[in-house]
Symmetry: C2
Subunit: 637 residues, 2 copies
């Protein structure tokens, strides 16, 4: 059945339920939802239980909007909003999305307005005939979020067109009674990088993740194996992105470059962070003269087709396929991708990158699912010896080291990856200062990590329970502490280097480009200073050389002349802050998964780690456990 037929059927069902005086003027599929346009929206809002009755009947999510002809003029709306909201929240910017009939209102505490039964949403809808959406006034401004919202709201004709197109794709009826459900490994199996898995049901083709191997330049190693015969770009129905690291989303815009026009399902933070990282990827590729596989306009197209969903929200994403994101504990917005296929015929989850332990930033990954037959899971730390130190030991160690360096009037440089560990380290340092385990000194943040932190502060609802309590109940936001200083220009950098003892967090994490290299060059020769690595240092990087204890290196000075730099600063490495599960956590997750899946597919790790972990899990949980190579198609049902 085509989506037109489905829409006819749904419209008939709705019209049978809905009172005539609601004045329904249109019913449309907008993305995964059904939008009902009405001339008298109060009728819909006031009829107790009407909307949930409709949703139950048509088995789809419903939104109501008033017909454009009856909406209040914008100046009147602004007046009304002030009157309704001024004693409840602080109001920031207000934007109008004319196509969708939505008014986007930035307030200090959006939760306050949506918490009790959509009260304010209904009140404003009735009074203005515009549908309100509440967003948080960002505590730190994010340029990325601004540009993403710009694509979604200002360019709303294109957005509406995309949503209608996606609506038709999602709501096509299934045809097959006996689907064959299969997954094909396109990338990130027996390796780390270019993660991509194709899920095929006969009725729908879904791509889970679309990563790039940033280190590779050869096409056959850099991008997922889209040349395999199962993959047909133009037959793709949906893309799901687990999280924003480039090895999971770096190739997404490429799909749009080559004609994909379907939905991209993500969480809100993932949408923002991945846009940031994709733009950065292009910038670096251009600067280094490397292959630039797509353009910024393709990133814009991805954003235009993004459908953001919350943790725990069940969403139709393609005929016969429902998606739920569950917290993965890896980075902000990271999700375990749970697919419910063919009316319960098979339940499949991708725990691509996950941390099965609490961190300061995020709660431990979810391990209980309503149903689960197959799990695909990572093996980054899959070897028995891949055990990371205890969290508390790592915090004690970094406290001791920082104290030592500061005591001798040194400066501490912590090179960080922009997304994930950087924010975790910020929380650790804030905690150490607040609890007086280390002295309060200025902590400078430089490079893309600033933007990532800004985005983090925009999505507090995705943070750990402990951190949310701190922010919402105790009104203490660690990212806003007074000792944080953002550094952007050369003069600030020079100034801080001449100043007092301090801590500097800067990208990149491996000392390959970015301000961390600048600081390293300036700080390396003074033995009072200290560098602390908190993440893996890739082979051949400057970070790896320093970590391994090189005594001197050749660097370019500011006049671009090669000079010798003697490394006198103290060098340390702390491994306990990783966002990946270590071997113990991987095994624990596999054992405690509930319900216990029938099949474990192990990937996202070096070959030997995948194979070792698959074997160990197989033995331990007594279920089929495999580490398939790229190009394997596994029948699930």
């Amino acid at each position: 059945m085509s989506s037109e037929h489905v829409l006819d059927k749904v419209s008939n069902q709705i019209n049978r339920i809905i009172p005539a005086n609601a004045g329904v003027t249109a019913i449309e599929f907008e993305g995964p939802e059904v939008a009902i346009y009405s001339k008298n929206i109060s009728v819909l809002i006031d009829s107790e239980g009407l909307l949930s009755q409709i949703a139950r009947t048509i088995r789809k999510r419903v939104v109501i909007r008033s017909d454009p002809a009856v909406r209040l003029p914008i100046d009147k709306v602004l007046e009304k909003l002030k009157k309704i909201l001024h004693d409840k929240v602080i109001i920031g910017d207000i934007e109008f999305d004319k196509n969708m009939g939505e008014v986007i209102i930035y307030v200090d505490k959006p939760n306050k307005l949506t918490r009790k039964q959509d009260d304010m949403i209904n009140t404003i809808t009735k009074e203005t005939l515009w549908r309100p959406k509440f967003f948080r006034i960002p505590p730190i401004k994010s340029n990325v979020i601004k540009s993403v919202r710009n694509v979604l709201f200002s360019d709303s004709a294109a957005r509406k067109e995309a949503l209608l197109r996606i609506g038709k794709m999602v709501h096509r009826e299934t045809l097959l009674e006996e689907p064959i459900i299969r997954i094909t490994s396109l990338g990130g199996y027996l390796e780390v990088g270019r993660t991509a898995t194709l899920v095929q049901t006969g009725d729908a083709n879904i791509l889970v993740d679309c990563g790039v191997s940033v280190g590779s330049s050869q096409a056959s190693k850099m991008l997922p194996r889209f040349d395999l015969p199962e993959f047909e770009l133009l037959n793709l129905d949906a893309v799901v992105i687990s999280h924003s690291h480039l090895d999971h989303c770096g190739f997404l815009p490429f799909l749009f470059k080559y004609g994909y026009e379907g939905p991209v399902f993500v969480t809100d933070p993932t949408l923002n962070l991945m846009t940031m990282l994709q733009i950065d990827y292009l910038d670096i590729a251009e600067k280094e003269g490397k292959l630039v596989p797509y353009s910024k306009n393709d990133i814009r197209k991805s954003t235009l087709h993004a459908i953001t969903i919350k943790y725990g929200e069940v969403t139709d994403i393609a005929p016969g396929v429902k998606l739920t994101f569950h917290n993965a504990g890896h980075i902000l917005g990271s999700g375990i991708v749970h697919l419910h296929i063919g009316n319960g015929k098979h339940n499949l989850a991708f725990a691509h990158d996950f941390k099965f332990a609490n961190s300061r930033l995020l709660d431990r990954a979810v391990h209980k699912f309503p149903r689960l037959e197959t799990i695909v899971m990572e093996a980054t730390y899959g070897n028995p010896q891949d055990m990371t130190p205890k969290r508390q030991d790592s915090e004690d160690q970094i406290a001791m080291l920082i104290k030592k360096a500061l005591a001798r009037k040194g400066k501490v440089l912590i090179p960080v990856l922009a997304v994930g560990r950087a924010q975790e380290l910020q929380l650790v340092i804030e905690h150490l200062i607040r609890t007086k385990q280390i002295p309060e000194v200025p902590v400078y943040v430089d490079g893309m990590v600033k933007e990532a932190t800004a985005i983090t502060t925009n999505h507090p609802e995705f943070l750990s329970r402990q951190l949310r309590e701190l922010i919402f109940e105790k009104n203490h936001n660690p990212f806003l502490a007074s000792f944080w200083h953002e550094i952007s220009v050369k003069e600030e950098r020079e100034q801080l280097l001449e100043g007092e003892p301090c801590i500097i967090m800067a990208t990149s994490g491996m000392l390959v480009g970015g301000p961390s290299v600048y600081y390293f060059n300036k700080l390396a020769e003074d033995e009072k200073n200290m560098i602390i690595f908190v993440s893996y240092q890739g082979k051949g990087t400057l970070g790896r050389k320093v970590e391994e204890g090189t005594e001197s290196i050749i660097v370019k000075n500011e006049q671009n002349k090669s000079v010798e730099l003697v490394v006198n600063m103290e060098v340390h490495r702390i491994s306990g802050f990783t966002g990946h599960s270590d071997r113990g956590e991987l095994m624990e997750f596999a054992k405690r998964l509930s319900p216990r899946p029938k099949k474990f597919l192990i990937m996202h790790g070096e070959m030997s780690k995948c194979e070792t972990l698959a074997k160990s899990i197989g033995k331990s949980v007594k279920r089929e456990s495999l580490a398939p190579p790229i190009g394997t198609t596994t029948r699930l049902y």
Copy 2:
């Protein structure tokens, strides 16, 4: 590189080697071979080692033909042939294939003419400027062989066109340096029926077997899963058929119905037997009002695209893929399909149906290969309890039973499948009579088994060493013994039923249609008679009911009225004549395979048998051993 470029390159290489006075007028790809047309073919034939030098240089098989303009007129050729051959062999029919410049000569002993270094072939080619092909004068005439040869030779313009098209497909150059070699199970995995496996290398797509599940009527169970996304009919480069049973070739003509125009690689007996069985399949489907998935014209098209190759002959079948058939010991012409892919990157063999033990008809399956990394093998008798009695015990038992029935003046009915066991049983009975273990009585053969036996006698070079010795050295052909009688018409049937004690072999093997049902109805009520089942009786068949000891059944009499038939005849079942390996032989084959493959894929058996056998082999040979379901794609390289 397209095949045109390859042909240019090959032509240049040939022209550089070949003497100018050979008068080469054309060089063409004809199927897997390179055909050189010359005005002075004697030059090519007389230049010692020239042809093998060419073959070595271009690394392809070469045939030489004389240019049509210089060939001798047909009447002159006939004169010459008689002169050259009359004292060497008995000459039968002679046919001319004008397009190919070939003269097909039926003689009593073709081996005599081809054995010593192609002597007669060269002599006749030089004298007549036609290229001779020698075929055996069939000891028993076969209508099927006649009609197959009719397609291949009389319709030679279409055949030549097909060969040129196939030549272009086979000789396309490979493009990929790093192919991903994968196989996808389309049918016959965890089940018996519709066997089909897709082999994909990136450069080539090859289908190994294309069977039908004769018992099913539902399309999703009856035909291979051609709806899987890997399978693209129009991208198929070659089809290989392991043997002629319908569960391995019954759906082949369907491919041609839907536009396939590529080659079908088979052995000579398989081509003849499969044509017979496909026609019979259509006839029965039509008669029973079942789905008729293709027409006789589609069978004709398959034949037109058939390339027959001998056991042990290495043939290019697609870019980067070489095929060799090895004796499988299962039925006449059955092959283990060995594929050598990507210049040695991977070697893969399909032991679909095979018998790892000598029978009277055939030698034991081959278990040594030049190279082998993956084996796909059957599990029809995969359970530990699936042990068949010893061969000698079965022969003793059938001798004893036949003797007993004949002694009391009874008639013995042996229902048989047309191809395989029937011919084996004929050899057993002939042996028992010849060695006087049972009395010499008339043995009547009725139904399609007659044609299958005729085809068998046309291909003595595919028979067991012992049998070939008997036929060629001792000049004794067991199929021509005087006690054999073919039965075709009703009068003959009535006559034999009224006559003396005898043995009757008739199709079908399960008493579902065919003359065996007629004989059963006539013989069942007399307790002097005996029925001996030698093959598996499917659930719900009349054969199964009788085997299980039913006392009476309702049958239609000749006036089509239902009457009760009391089964008084003696009922026996002997299982030792199967053409499949029993459990012991399967394990023995797996252990003795040389070289030992890295991967075993077990299929062609009920689910539990495949899984049990896979486990046992894995434990025993310490290699990966899996029983994948349909729809699995396994990466081999």
